[in-house]
Symmetry: D2
Subunit: 357 residues, 4 copies
């Protein structure tokens, strides 16, 4: 079951990197929602590679074609399916490469999981390319959420050891999120941009890669959304975040830092702001007991450095059943954190829409 | 949907802290598995309060009664339901207290979520007491897993700023996990025990509480378990972890630390150990591409300090619609981390059994 | 997965006939719905055995105890669990009987399905007694539906070859349904009651049993409920009906009769009744394209004669692996159709509530 | 939720009759299963229109393109998606027609369900054309089942009042099922063919349509498949059957006839045939207690006459909110029963594979 998610919304993805195409079906969307396709394409462009020195020079012709569920510019309420055809694959000879398991990648677990029958070309179904349909679906969900007054945005919180500010340290509003969306390196403290670029380009020069973190927020969500226990907001979002390749950690609000603190330092005390109940602080990231409390949802995900590096690595040859050395050629992303920002936003949008629909 | 989880296994919980009883139904268990009820009760006892100065002095008569699905000492394969009756509640007068929203608790989100109709007594359905049935279910799942050679164990990784060793730093095996289970403060570096106790008791003295982290491992799980994307092992486990009250973060393998590192420092290189494929390191915590690689699963969860503290706190009175001060009386856990260890193990067992069944 | 059903509502049943108890958990109920427990008990009484010569003389002490999700007379919105303890089982010696597979019963399929570990006493988890919790849950769902103006009722459409009138032939309204509920043999044509009683009592005299049909209706449901394809109203209701032991057929509206007719005889033509759209006929039973059209939902289920008969039958002894003869002693229902009426109504209520919630 | 089905298998459909395309995604297929695409196309051809006088003269270019999950002639185990493009739609002017609700069709329920935003052209998402992807998916499931020794076949049991023989009356085996698949009117008693054809052609001449029934069987399925209650084999299959447009009834084994009989006439008595347990009769259609008993699964579905008829009909104009007359022009199927046979087989295959996988 790699490709189905949701309770009230049902999202199902499919596709392999070098197969015929990749895509997604979203069932359960409300009918009659006008979708601005230009905005959807802007979201797709944010994830697309080939735009700068920070990412791979590979180009992807990520033009999704909507096959169903969309009529006269609006959602019909029936399943909406979109496909992105894999236009530009070369009939590369994988030769020996397919037997050499790339460390940090899904090659070996996938080989065992599918008894060797999975499509190994370019990572197959495990390829980061499959996140393109997620961004497409998320872009649609975002527009449905915007109509409900809910906005989602994210920024690069760190690359390597270079840290950006936190949402908690700035004046957090919808306009800020809009501004972040148009930047290649979306930062709250733009003065850190040069350092981050250098960190990425150094990794590139060393035929290596570097990881980072992304902070994401949901604004405009009212109190009372979510459930205790198994369908908590945290469970829902964490489930989706770990569906995104390379995510290895998530924390809500102050997260792991709270484990070092006292209750009196972590509890968010309430007060009345006119008729509205608010909290003085937002250490819990807008969620207590698994349910929203009306404050912005805040969480951070940790992204590991992409395992695709050009450096020689030790591995195994599963055909000849012996140890081997691997050099992965081709154009790699030295850092995928900035490209992952719209993906994190997209799956957040999918998860939040499922909760509020 | 607070109470249903699972794909091949279906777990459904119910109950309120001061209602008639709490319980759990597990559907999808294999038939004919002998269950050692003494071992199940030992697991229950690990979570139970009232055992030491480190936790609340409250006693709970947590004796689960199996109602179904269990015959002649073995699972029948039909739904197994167990109930724990709430024997020892005093008909306390909540009076004004029910209108004062406890900071950091689910009182306010729950009030909104259920339009004021939820059982507010003792946290109601949001009570940490609901984790007792989870421990019961987990204890049964553990025994099913043990029969498949899969073991689960955890330890207190930190309390406040006092850190225990990591599983990566010790000789990790089943016997070690067994030894940890019988300790009140399960640590890999017992020399840290005194410091941790002091940290907890200081918080207690200050009418406060303190958080911590728990590291958990799954041994004996073969490569190829799990799925890419939506049903990744990480998604499955993270979903369940955030069902446990007070968990605010999770990371797999080196987790957030990987965001500071290079790909060459994070990739786990493969080698043949005889016929078996292993990795030199286990930075990815036994999972790449959402699927197990045959190495132990390793992850860490961050537990916030329990919000139940005796210190005066600012809050709101939702009846009189004004700001108020709150002093929570009664016996509180100054630290719930050690009591959460068997809960984390239990939901891990539930999740892993769902994946391998 | 014997015990979980629902999309927005999640219902999970458990229990064995001669085990500790049987019960049900309903998750997803709205909060704050006042439940009249007296009315719930009346529904339970309609299904209970031991009331007349038409059913078994066995008595069941079917007093459900609500364990959770119910507070101050109202639903809390959290999972509502109720248990019925099996108070009155004699520690009967099953001896050889457990190896003799009762024809028409689940003994043999269940033995294979659960590898011989299922509780065989009194049919175990397959017992018709498990429908008692369904009636309990249905009674609650009915009250939630009544508050939305939706009523559910059923009558015995036939026993053996004796036929009652159809809902289509009478003035169908809520009051009629109420009147049917208090009758032991709920008929639209009471003049058929004597013949039906004779049919049942003759079967009883012959140590045999007799089948029948039940017609059920849903009144007050608006147009536009349900979905095309996999979650059609018909799929939802049929799925639930075949969860009731002994149901072997279902048809909506004119059902199988439509297979003999022309399109012009089956199409329900539309007209405006004031502002409201209605159809002149209701051949489709209120559903076209899987979705309600605003007319009453009408369907009929076929109930096979209970397989528990006292006549000698040929069977196999699975222990000695040879053919054998079986005489089932004890008190049997000569006809379960009239007792199944509240069960059919109950699962209809569960299904409809899931669709309209 | 129109488009998602399954527990272990997840099937999701999408598409509208006159939109860009229609299709299906199947997740959960085992990896490494060789698929004979020629056989898949043969199944597609069985359903396709335009082949004879018995069905519509419309042609459909139903060539499914597999987008994913299929590599080197075998399933990969990852989601398999196939799309059929709607090549041949004319940009017809629907004009007034879209406001006239066709009786017996989903126009009106769909209009309400989707608030008027659904694609109305050619029935949109409700079109019988959406069954083409179901046949595609079923054809693949059939091949997976065949490899497990399980065969599925069906025949036209009746058209109007003309009845074919039953599977119970013939020597039921795999070869018989193969022979049925190549016939336009698959009958067990070919001597009825002429009468059936006449019945259909008379309806056609009268600008009308006619209904019928289909009997389906599953051979080679072992005892012990399925579950009691909510996931019974009958629930599973009935759920899927009512996903097929125009199905209005289903009965298993002797079905509704059993309601007229005695228990002694319906119980299937057991005997040992060598080591194997069999029943003398198969009145229960291979299922008791919701679980297979090792005998062939037998069931019958009732298909209503297609509501698309050329005769003038009374209806409503939902734009002008008044009564109106409707004449549906174009080429209609006078009988869809024979075209529905492969669809019934297909959803049976999907359901059975979900149960045995």
């Amino acid at each position: 079951m790699s490709g189905i998610w949701g309770n009230k919304l049902k999202v199902s993805i499919f596709g392999e990197s070098h197969g015929v195409g990749i895509g997604i079906t979203i069932d359960g969307l409300p009918s009659g929602v006008e979708i601005n396709m230009e905005d959807v394409m802007k979201e797709m462009a944010r994830r697309a590679p080939g735009k700068s020195k920070l990412s791979t020079a590979r180009k992807e012709g990520d033009v999704p074609e909507i096959l169903s569920g969309f009529f006269q510019g609006k959602t019909t309420g029936t399943p909406l399916c979109a496909v992105i055809r894999n236009s530009d694959m070369h009939s590369k000879d994988y030769g020996k490469l397919k037997d050499l398991m790339r460390p940090g990648h899904a090659d070996y677990p996938g080989f065992i999981r599918y008894n060797g029958f999975n499509d190994y070309r370019g990572g197959g179904h495990f390829s980061g390319r499959i996140t393109a349909p997620l961004v497409f679906a998320g872009a649609i969900c975002k527009q449905v959420l915007e109509a409900k007054g809910i906005s989602i945005g994210a920024h690069v919180k760190s690359v390597g050891k270079i840290e950006d500010k936190s949402f908690n340290e700035v004046n957090l509003n919808k306009e800020l999120l809009e501004k972040l969306k148009v930047k290649e390196l979306p930062l709250l403290a733009p003065e850190k941009e040069d350092e981050m670029r250098s960190t990425i380009l150094e990794a590139k020069k060393d035929q290596d890669s570097v990881g980072g973190t992304i902070e994401c927020t949901v604004l405009g969500i009212s109190a009372g959304v979510g459930n205790p226990f198994f369908d908590s907001v945290e469970s829902t979002l964490a489930h989706l975040m770990f569906s995104v390749p390379a995510v290895k950690g998530i924390e809500f609000g102050k997260g792991f830092l709270m484990s070092e603190l006292r209750g009196s330092q972590c509890n968010d005390e309430y007060y009345y702001d006119g008729d509205e109940i608010k909290t003085y602080t937002n250490n819990n990231g807008g969620i207590t007991g698994g349910i929203t409390n009306g404050m912005p949802i805040l969480f951070k995900v940790g992204i590991k450095p992409t395992p695709s590096i050009s450096k020689a690595q030790r591995t195994v040859d599963i055909c000849e059943k012996k140890d081997a050395e691997l050099v992965i050629e081709g154009r790699h992303d030295p850092c995928i954190v900035q490209r992952a920002v719209p993906v994190i936003e997209a799956v957040t949008a999918i998860g939040i829409l499922d909760l509020v629909i």
